[in-house]
Amino acid sequence: MAKLEARGITKYFEHESHRLQALGGVNLKVESGDFVCLVGPSGCGKSTFLRIVAGLEKPDGGQILFDGRPVTETGPTRIMVFQEGALFPWLTVRDNVEFGLKVSGIPREKRAEVSERYLDMMQLTKFAGSYTHQLSTGMKQRVAIARALVMDPDVLLMDEPFAALDAQTKDLLLVETQLIWARTKKTIMFVTHNVAEAAVLGTKVAVFSNRPSVVKREIPNDFPRPRVPDDKDLIDFQHEILQELRPEVRKGGGAGASGASKDDADAEGTVAGEEEKKKKKKKKKGGTQ
C-alpha cells in the first residue's frame, strides 16, 4: 500500500472576475521512503497541492489517502516546511524547534533532549539561544527543517524551501537534505522550480502540467548517491524533465519559457513575479482566516 496517495484532486479558486481551476484531477502515489520532487510551471498549483496533502486546504474533489485511509485534517503526520520558513519570531531557535513537542505535551527534559539532537544534526547548536531575525536565510531554513524533523513525521512536505538561498548555501543544503533523507528514511515531497534541484534530490520526479494541472509524467531517478548539483550524468536527466516541462510553461505564457538553454531550468525569470503573487495571496488569506 502506498504511504500516501492523491486520487483525482481538484481545486477551484474564486477570483474577482472568474473562477480558476488550479488542479484538474491530480493522481499521485508516493511509497514509503520515496523522495518525490514536484516540478511544474509557475502558478500551476504545486503549492496548493502540497497544502491539500498537508490538510491545510480542502480539495473540491478527490481524496488524499494516508496509509490507505482518507485524511482531511492537518496534523503532525505530514509536516510542511514553508518557503519562508514561517519560523516564530517571538521564540528562540531552540523554542522554535521544540514548538511541536511542546504543543503535544512532551515534558521539558524530554523536549530538550530531542531538540538537542536535531539542533546538532542541522549544525545549529551554537545558535540555539538566538532569535530568528539574527539568522541568515540559510540558517533559518535549517531551523525550519529541524522543527519539522523533531515531529518525526511520516511525510515531510517541502515547498521550495531553498528558493531564496544563494547558490553555495543551496548546494550545501541539497547535499545535506539527501543525507537527512538517507538517515531518517522519511518520505519526502519536495516542490521546486529548479530542474537541477529535482534531479539531484528525487527518487522520482513528478511533472505537473499547466492549469488545470494534472501529473503529466512521473520520471524515476535511480542515479547513485550522493549526487551533486553539477553532476555531468544528471544533465541528460535534467533535459528529460525539461522536455516535459517546456511545453507546459509555454502554454501558460509564463516568463520562464524564454530561452532554451540550461538556464531556464532555473526559471529564475519567474521568481520575481511569483513573489508578487504570493504576497497578494497572503493578503487574501489573512482576510478569510
Partner: protein, 261 residues
C-alpha cells in the same frame, strides 16, 4: 558625550538642556509668585508646593492616595486586558462575531471613560467596584481593538505551521495568536493604561471617595491650591514613570526579540 557627529555617537544627549529648562521654569515660577501679582493662596510658590509634597509624603496621605488609585487602576486594567484580549481574539477569528459585537465595540470605544461614571454610581454605588467599573469599561475597548488588529495581521503561515504541528484551540491561542499579536497588543495596553489613568482620577473626583482624584476634590473644597498642584505633580510623575519605564522596557524587549529595531 562629544558634540562632534562621530558615527558611534548616534544620539546627542539633551540632558543638560532638560535640567536647565526645569531649573529655569521653577525659577520663573518662584519669581512670579514672589512678585505679589496674585496672593499666595491663589498662586502658591514652588516652595509652598514642595512643602505640601513633603508633608504629604511624611504623613502618608499622598502615599495612601497614590496606593488607593493604583490599586483600583491595577484591578480595573487587569479586567480590561483580560476581557479586551479575549474579545479581540474572538472578533479576529469569527467574522460573525466581528460584524455584530465588533461593530458595537467600535461605537462604545468612542465614549470617554468619565461618561460611564453615572452608570457606575447607579449600578455599584459609591464603592470601589463603581470606580473599577469605570476604569475597566473605559480601557477595555482600546485593548480589544488593538488585539483584533494584531491577530488579523498575523502572517497566515504562522498559524498554518502551528496547526500543522498540532496546535489547536487553547494551545493555538496561548502559543501562537497571543505572542504573534503581542507587538500590537502592547499598543493596546498602553492606550488602555492611558484611558484607565485618566478614568481613575476623573472617577475619584466625582465619587469623592479616597485616592488621588479625591485629594484633588478635597483641595478644591478647602481652596488649598498648593495641595492641588502637589497632587497634580504626583499624577504627572506616575504617568511619565509608567510610560517611560514600564511600557518602554516592554516595547524594547519585544521589538529587539522580533528584530524590529
Amino acid at each position: 558625550m562629544s558634540l562632534s557627529a562621530s558615527p558611534s555617537s548616534k544620539k546627542r544627549s539633551y540632558a543638560p538642556h532638560k535640567i536647565a529648562f526645569y531649573i529655569g521654569l521653577v525659577a520663573v515660577w518662584q519669581l512670579v509668585a514672589m512678585s505679589g501679582v496674585w496672593p499666595s493662596n491663589i498662586f502658591p510658590s514652588p516652595y509652598e508646593v514642595g512643602e505640601d509634597l513633603v508633608y504629604g509624603a511624611l504623613d502618608g496621605s499622598l502615599l495612601h492616595g497614590f496606593a488607593t488609585s493604583m490599586w483600583r487602576l491595577a484591578v480595573g486594567l487587569s479586567i480590561s486586558i483580560a476581557g479586551g484580549v479575549a474579545l479581540g481574539i474572538v472578533m479576529a477569528r469569527r467574522e460573525a462575531f466581528n460584524q455584530t459585537v465588533g461593530s458595537l465595540v467600535l461605537g462604545l470605544q468612542s465614549i470617554p471613560s468619565i461618561a460611564w461614571v453615572p452608570l457606575g454610581i447607579l449600578w455599584f454605588g459609591l464603592t470601589d467596584a463603581g470606580i473599577i467599573f469605570v476604569i475597566a469599561i473605559g480601557a477595555v475597548f482600546a485593548v480589544t481593538i488593538n488585539t483584533y488588529t494584531g491577530v488579523k495581521n498575523i502572517q497566515p503561515h504562522y498559524i498554518e505551521a502551528a496547526r500543522n504541528m498540532g496546535a489547536t484551540g487553547g494551545r493555538l491561542i496561548t502559543d501562537v495568536l497571543i505572542p504573534a499579536a503581542f507587538p500590537y497588543m502592547i499598543s493596546g495596553f498602553k492606550q488602555g493604561w492611558a484611558f484607565a489613568w485618566r478614568g481613575v482620577i476623573g472617577a475619584e473626583l466625582l465619587f469623592s471617595y479616597l485616592g488621588l482624584g479625591y485629594m484633588l476634590y478635597v483641595g478644591r473644597s478647602l481652596n488649598d491650591i498648593s495641595q492641588i498642584i502637589a497632587v497634580m505633580l504626583v499624577i504627572m510623575a506616575t504617568g511619565l514613570a509608567v510610560d517611560a519605564v514600564l511600557f518602554k522596557k516592554l516595547e524594547l524587549k519585544v521589538m529587539s526579540r522580533w528584530g524590529l529595531r
